[in-house]
């Protein structure tokens, strides 16, 4: 593609320019309440999914997002209509954040006909063209090239949409990530690479798998700017997301955000939990929980405990209805075995 004659000055010097530049701007009360509700929806949904998995209602792989909620919720607050989202297999949170219906997501987890993929995709494979959610991809790193292609389509069409490609610290070591970085910067594609560094690729700690553990620097040799972000603080995520998205919309090419976050649960439901201590998990839950941070700020701002409980009750209702639907909905008709192979 004929890239505009953008100045070839090194953008890499922007890397980490904002690191440690003080606390993020405060949210309005409205924003705090929205963030709280959206993060709670993910938390309660995932807790319920874990429960249903334990009951045998959900099969196969099931990767829960608990602990990382601030990342997708903060990023979503920075996007506008038409921006696309794509991610890997730990995707339930991303789907709920883009506004996909909890019933459809949960019914897909249980493999029922009312699921987003009619029960044919499962936990890792759901899509919504309406919500501009492009999956849900089970092969580690594949979504990075695909997300680059979404951005390529934006450039081709000449619109101002931005693609958000989420991947983890594990996927960040895949070769195609760097192939994508190269093309994205070469062609100035509007894509934000959001690296959700939850410290473990399955059971392998970042320090045991990565020569460069500062993931914001992973784009330096391509001149892609990057930042490390407190991924447990939804306000920090939103402000970083806005900056990255604006960079893309201005035609300056891709941007990397390393979200420093943490996964409370195991990699999947069959995690042996031998690679980290219970104390480590507890400490982060106590000190940094993304939802508690918002709740505490709201309480400090004199929002009543009762109002917060009402939000929680509202979210629980949505999740329970989704769980009921997902268990009552029939399995796909057997005739569906041979549909949707071709169109």
């Amino acid at each position: 593609m004929a890239a505009p004659a953008a100045p070839k000055k090194s953008a890499a010097k922007d890397v980490n320019a904002d690191k440690g530049s003080g606390p993020p701007p405060e949210f309005t009360r409205e924003q705090e309440l929205t963030a709280l509700r959206d993060m709670l929806l993910i938390r309660r949904f995932e807790e319920k999914a874990g429960q249903l998995y334990g009951m045998g209602a959900i099969g196969g792989f099931c990767h829960l997002y608990i602990g990382q909620e601030a990342v997708v919720v903060g990023m979503q607050m920075a996007l506008k209509q038409g921006d696309q989202v794509i991610t890997g297999y730990r995707d339930h949170g991303h789907m709920l954040a883009t506004g996909m219906d909890a019933k459809g997501v949960m019914a897909e987890l249980t493999g029922r006909r009312g699921g987003y993929s009619k029960g044919k995709g499962g936990s890792m494979h759901m899509f919504s063209i309406e919500k501009q959610f492009y999956g849900g991809h089970g092969i580690v790193g594949a979504q990075v090239s695909l997300g680059t292609g979404l951005a390529l389509a934006n450039r081709y069409r000449g619109n101002d949409s931005v693609a958000i490609a989420y991947f983890g610290d594990g996927a960040a070591n895949q070769g195609q990530v760097y192939e994508s970085f190269n093309m994205a910067e070469l062609w100035k594609l509007p894509v934000v690479y959001v690296i959700e560094n939850n410290r473990y690729a399955m059971g392998t700690a970042v320090t045991r798998a990565s020569a460069q553990t500062d993931f914001s620097k992973r784009g330096i040799s391509f001149n892609i700017p990057g930042e490390q972000v407190d991924g447990m603080d939804v306000r920090a995520v939103k402000v970083a997301g806005e900056k990255a998205v604006a960079w893309c919309r201005e035609g300056k090419g891709p941007y990397i955000l390393e979200m420093q976050t943490y996964r409370y649960r195991g990699h999947s439901m069959s995690d042996p939990a031998k690679y980290r201590t219970r104390e480590e998990v507890e400490k982060i839950r106590t000190d940094q929980d993304p939802i508690e941070q918002v709740r505490n700020r709201l309480l400090a701002a004199k929002v009543s405990e009762q109002d917060l409980k009402a939000i929680d009750a509202d979210v629980r209702k949505i999740v329970n209805e989704a769980a009921d639907f997902a268990q009552a909905d029939p399995e796909p008709d057997v005739s569906e075995l041979y549909t949707d192979v071709y169109r």
């Binding site: 593609m1 044919k120 292609g149 169109r343």
Partner: protein
């Protein structure tokens, strides 16, 4: 004795070329390294450098001569002390007849070492139902037919674009995209870095967003790097999304054995891709099919693997002159009718199949030759109908035999026409070894017309 300058080959698969221009005149001194002439093919141009010193004695092939066979003497160089009188000693007396021949007749030069015509006699070929009777036919190479197909579809649909290595400024590694950059510009004809995995994924992502990319692999050997994106992302997403999100994309490029490039650059992936539900797989042989099927592939809403063949790119054939010549995917073509044995092949395998049919005809065996054209979905109906008529079948493929397409065809014949078979189905295939480099071994590793003849006779018990 005067030294002969021979027509060089630009590539291992070049059989003939045009002598575009002489840069030296008869009688001019020549030093080693001097550029003495320019030759060209439909793919590229090349300068001919002298490797010997002396005087340009005689130009044997005048400039502007088309279709000069590789290794034809094109000039003589006189060494010091030699004169024009020595020219008679040069061992190329037959060439003199060609000197004054018009370019069109030059194709018939006796020195032509390579068999060119592989098409079956027109009289026995079944008429193409997609072409109305009386349609004007244009002769073009497969390379040109493919290019025209892409250009026509790009004119028709602004969402169609091509990306790949060297597709734009270089005009295509095999010159299939020649001229597309000039007509459509860099936005729609995109050179990519050497990044098969990455650009295949980016192409699939763009297709998920609703565009219709044509992704060129310089050869399908390199597509192995991109296999995950082709299979896991392109082929499966429609199903995994419950029909919500598909992927209209064409992956195309040369597949199969090239010439003298050894094992890593010479492999037939027909059976690999045809194994995968969600993909359509096309492998044309004729120029007309190359054009009509590529247009169909680009319009198809599914991911399509379009397997071309480097050896065939320069082959010419007749293409119907129609505004919109589109051949339906999934239909085989009876390339030659016969009643005694059915020979089934596709792509370059057809070269051996048709040649064998000619040989068999001389011995009184009338072979029916089916060009599958599409491997997935496979036109079982046409195969079975033919086998019910002949009672005997031979499959021909360049790929390996184990789990090959021939094995699949044999299974389908067994399932649908077992009672009609008068002999077990025979398979002719590439040998069960990586492709060797040495010319003699390479030839042995590939199927041959002789092997097809032998197999056909065996199933006819003759």
């Amino acid at each position: 004795m005067p030294i002969q300058v021979l027509m060089p080959a630009l590539s291992p698969t070049m059989e003939k070329g045009n002598l575009a221009k002489w840069l030296k005149k008869e009688g001019e001194p020549i030093k080693s390294g001097d550029v003495i002439a320019e030759i060209e093919t439909d793919k590229a141009t090349m300068e001919v450098e002298a490797t010997d010193e002396g005087t340009l004695g005689k130009i044997l092939i005048p400039e502007g001569t088309a279709d000069v066979a590789v290794n034809t003497p094109i000039a003589t160089i006189l060494a010091d002390g030699e004169s024009a009188a020595d020219l008679a000693k040069a061992p190329a007396p037959e060439m003199k007849a060609a000197q004054s021949a018009p370019p069109a007749a030059a194709a018939a030069m006796p020195a032509s070492p390579a068999p060119t015509g592989v098409a079956a006699p027109q009289s026995v070929a079944e008429p193409d139902p997609e072409v109305p009777p009386g349609t004007e036919m244009v002769t073009m190479t497969i390379r040109e037919a493919l290019r025209d197909a892409m250009a026509e579809e790009m004119r028709r649909d602004p969402d169609v674009f091509i990306m790949g290595e060297e597709v734009a400024e270089y005009q295509g590694a095999y010159k299939v995209t020649q001229g597309l950059l000039q007509e459509f510009g860099a936005r729609r004809v995109m050179d990519t870095p050497i990044t098969e995995h990455g650009f295949a994924g980016a192409g699939v992502g763009a297709a998920m967003a609703g565009l219709k990319p044509i992704v060129e692999f310089m050869t399908f050997n390199f597509a192995m790097q991109a296999m995950d994106q082709v299979i896991n992302s392109a082929a499966k997403t429609l199903y995994m999304s419950g029909g919500q999100m598909g992927c209209s994309i064409v992956f195309r490029g040369p597949n199969g054995a090239a010439a003298r490039v050894a094992a890593q650059h010479s492999q037939d992936y027909s059976s690999w891709y045809s194994n995968v539900p969600g993909l359509k797989v096309i492998a044309p042989f004729s120029a007309a099919d190359a054009k009509g099927l590529l247009k169909a592939a680009i319009r198809d809403p599914n991911p399509v693997i379009f397997l071309e063949n480097e050896v065939l790119y320069g082959h010419s054939g007749e293409v119907p002159k129609l505004d919109d010549y589109v051949i339906p995917i999934g239909k085989a073509r009876i390339a030659r009718s016969g009643k005694d044995v059915t020979i089934i092949s596709w792509s370059n395998g057809m070269t051996y199949a048709l040649k064998a049919a000619d040989e068999l005809a001389k011995e009184g065996i009338e072979a029916e030759v089916i060009d599958l054209r599409t491997l997935r979905p496979m036109d079982t109906e046409t195969i079975v109908a033919s086998v019910k008529k002949t009672g005997r079948a031979v499959t021909v493929e360049e790929g390996w035999q184990q789990s090959g397409v021939g094995a699949e065809i044999a299974a389908r014949i067994m399932e649908h026409a077992f009672d009609y078979l008068d002999a077990p189905v025979a398979r002719v295939s590439g040998k069960d070894v990586p492709m060797p480099y040495a010319a003699n071994l390479e030839k042995l590793a590939l199927p041959s017309a002789a092997e097809v003849v032998q197999a056909a006779k065996a199933v006819c018990y003759r």
